[in-house]
């Protein structure tokens, strides 16, 4: 008895919609099993991971002593935190979608994110007193420029020398981490910072404003949604989108259509680098308000999960980013309410990516159990 794959004539529309959901369900089942093994109540654990953060749990104790409303009112604060966490993931993943669709493997978004943050910080750090309505737009543009330039390195190496972009972009992540680490401890360190790594806090005109007063959520979230819609439009409705898809599916066919795979490599990396850079500077200017040594949190890698979970569709990616963000926030909630260790969140993310990848097979192939009953027709 063994599995056998049979290529479908065309991609299955049904499964291309269903597969992310199947993957989610399988992840939940696997997660429940994991909690049982850990000796935690499986349903309560899953609840505190994925439901509790969304709703307010409150107790009307003094009024109705044995009647409590639970999970009725959406938890605004928690939803806001999910938004904050999803913003960089969505920004990076939308860029990666373009790159992956075109058949280019940018694994180094984390590095482009960091360099974006560093480039964007240049103006507020070096010209701290410069207050102008132009400051913020320039800061954001510098961030995109930094990410794009850093993405350009693996792209040019691939298109000029045929170097493997997976490996070069990955190596560059580590170089970027060291570079940022050095600059915030050395040349850019705040002289009044008690010796701790980190630059001066940004001037107000260089800070990405909050969505409303006292909010943690900043305009990066709006930028992410706008970017997702724009990229969706580009992929679905423009000739550039067509070019990306054709080259991604078959470089040979692309060549016959007159498209250049080399130019596409450069375009894809510049684009995804710029998006990662934008995510980086949004975090720096919107959340931290200075550049420090804690910028690298692995968003560039998590965004790869997001991109796949969203099926490389920008709108799907926005949803996927929210799901992943929920798993972070839920991880904290479960730690507080049940004492589930924070590693569980990582395991969830790994499992989710596994199941997403496995379910994607269903889109292009029929899976059969040879010499046994059909597994999936």
């Amino acid at each position: 008895m063994r599995l056998e794959l049979q290529k479908r004539a065309g991609a299955s529309t049904l499964f291309s919609i269903l597969s992310p959901f199947i993957a989610l369900v399988l992840t939940l089942v696997a997660g429940a099993i994991m909690f049982v093994i850990l000796g935690k109540p499986p349903f309560a654990s899953l609840y505190s991971y994925f439901i509790e953060p969304l709703f307010l749990k409150f107790d009307m104790g003094p009024i109705f002593s044995d009647f409590s409303f639970e999970g009725i009112v959406p938890n605004g604060w928690s939803l806001e935190q999910i938004l904050v966490k999803a913003t960089p993931l969505a920004l990076i993943a939308v860029g990666l979608a373009v790159c992956f669709r075109s058949g280019n493997w940018n694994i180094g978004a984390e590095g482009q994110y960091l360099i974006g943050g560093m480039f964007g910080a240049m103006i507020p750090v070096l010209f701290n007193d410069w207050n102008s309505p132009l400051t913020l737009p320039l800061v954001l543009i510098m961030g995109m420029l930094g990410g794009a330039l850093y993405g350009f390195i693996p792209a040019i190496l691939k298109s000029r020398f045929g170097t493997n972009e997976i490996l070069t972009s990955l190596m560059l992540v580590y170089v970027a981490q060291q570079l940022v680490d050095w600059i915030v401890r050395g040349p850019w360190r705040d002289p009044k910072g008690m010796g701790f790594p980190g630059t001066k806090s940004f001037n107000e005109s260089a800070v990405l404003p909050s969505l409303w007063q006292h909010a943690d959520a900043h305009y990066g979230a709006v930028i992410a949604v706008v970017a997702a819609i724009a990229v969706w439009f580009m992929l679905a409705k423009t000739s550039k989108g067509f070019e990306i898809t054709v080259l991604g599916q078959s470089p040979r066919a692309g060549r016959f259509a007159g498209f250049s795979a080399k130019n596409m490599t450069v375009f894809a990396f510049l684009f995804s680098g710029a998006m990662a850079g934008l995510a980086g500077i949004s975090e720096v200017s919107g959340s931290v308000e200075k550049l420090d040594d804690k910028l690298s949190l692995g968003y560039g890698f998590t965004a790869i999960i997001v991109a796949f979970l969203g099926r490389l569709n920008p709108l799907g990616i926005v949803a996927a980013a929210l799901v992943l963000a929920l798993s972070y926030i839920g991880g904290e909630a479960a730690q507080i309410s049940l004492g589930v260790s924070d590693r569980a969140a990582r395991v969830f993310q790994g499992l989710l990516l596994f199941f997403v990848l496995a379910c994607d097979t269903l889109i292009h192939y029929r899976v059969r159990l040879v010499a046994a009953v059909e597994a999936v027709a």
Binding site: L56, D59, G61, V73, G195, E283, I336
Partner: protein
């Protein structure tokens, strides 16, 4: 539209959580802790968690505790601190320097919750206190022991980041050593991490190969202790008693004992007497303790105990003149004591450190 919806939900949340806190007011006091590392690091975070357990043991049913481990520093800490404040914690201890800004931000939003921030200096709201310990006092004792025990006259120091806290420890160590042997030298290696056992082990091996025969560290793992044990030299434990990682190796260790402080502050919340403060306790308060003096002759142990005692009763302070800086200029004149500002922002070496302070 979206904005107002969120705002409404947020204000509802605030009202409800305030209501919940009132309803719970007579029940348990909830003390919550934010940790930088895993509770099992056997160093910094482990000791804070021991303090948390001491609170539970002391107050029993009257308190409830919770903790979040591996919380990244800086802006990422904002959310967990707030989550705690919203989940009904009455007092929140944030136990790493870079939780400083997020702690103060959360304090502004939750005036009813008490915040205690370790090793920081910002108290922007009346509900924020800061606390730290004078670990450098223990370093002085270690320096004296090192100078007595070393045959090569050189000790090695595995350092994390060139922040004042670490520099203070290095200076105190060399001052202690020089009080025994004026020619004593100290080699410093910076590993740029608080916690990376293989890297700390590499640094330890390199220092030993460079001729040091006593190791001390300002990083959090027990790796250096294990390397010292393997190579047959002596070493000092850090933050926590590491004797089981080097039964024949550890001379003593500086133990961060947070239990007295945590009990005192939680009690203040229970009694309703909590007030903002800034404390920098040392051996006098029991916050800095020394692990048993082991693997050394009795006379060395006796000397160490004597120094420890004189620091505890206040008759002696490590940073007392005459002290010369590394560049040869006089820092403290004979009998002069260091002022607290210079201590807190220490960014220079004293004479005898064989290293250039990274800028």
């Amino acid at each position: 539209m979206k904005k107002t919806l969120f705002a409404l939900a947020a204000s509802a949340a605030v009202m409800l959580s305030a209501g919940a806190a009132q309803a719970d007011g007579h029940a348990k006091t909830k003390a919550c802790f934010i940790y930088i590392g895993p509770t099992g690091d056997f160093g910094w975070t482990y000791q804070h968690d021991e303090g948390r357990k001491a609170v539970e043991a002391e107050f029993g049913d009257k308190v409830e505790t919770a903790f979040l481990e591996n919380v990244p520093e800086s802006a990422e800490a904002q959310r967990p601190i707030e989550a705690f404040a919203r989940s009904g914690c009455n007092i929140i201890f944030t136990t790493s320097f870079n939780y400083m800004d997020p702690t103060n931000k959360a304090a502004a939003k939750h005036p009813d919750v008490k915040f205690e921030h370790a090793t920081g200096y910002k108290r922007e709201h009346p509900n924020v206190s800061t606390y730290s310990s004078k670990f450098y006092q223990g370093r002085y004792v270690q320096g004296q022991i090192a100078a007595k025990m070393s045959k090569t006259g050189v000790a090695g120091y595995i350092a994390s980041f060139p922040i004042p806290e670490v520099v203070r420890g290095i200076n105190s160590f060399i001052l202690g050593a020089q009080s025994v042997n004026p020619d004593f030298k100290l080699k410093v290696v910076w590993v740029s991490t608080w916690f990376d056992p293989p890297k700390e082990a590499d640094a330890a091996k390199a220092l030993i190969d460079q001729g040091v025969d006593i190791l001390t560290q300002h990083t959090d793992s027990t790796a250096a202790m294990q390397v010292a044990a393997e190579r047959g030299i002596k070493a000092f434990g850090q933050a926590s008693d590491m004797i089981k990682f080097g039964p024949k190796t550890q001379l003593t260790a500086i133990i961060d004992d947070w239990a007295p402080y945590y009990k005192e502050r939680v009690k203040a919340v229970i009694d309703g007497t909590w007030k903002q403060q800034d404390v920098w306790h040392g051996m006098d308060h029991g916050s800095v303790a020394m692990a048993p003096y082991t693997n050394m002759p009795d006379d060395v142990a006796a000397m160490a105990k004597k120094t420890e005692e004189s620091i505890r009763d206040g008759s002696f302070e490590p940073f007392t003149g005459p002290v010369t800086k590394q560049d040869g200029t006089v820092w403290l004149k004979d009998g002069e004591k260091a002022d607290i500002g210079t201590m807190l922002g220490m960014n220079f070496y004293v004479k005898g450190v064989d290293d250039k302070l990274p800028k």
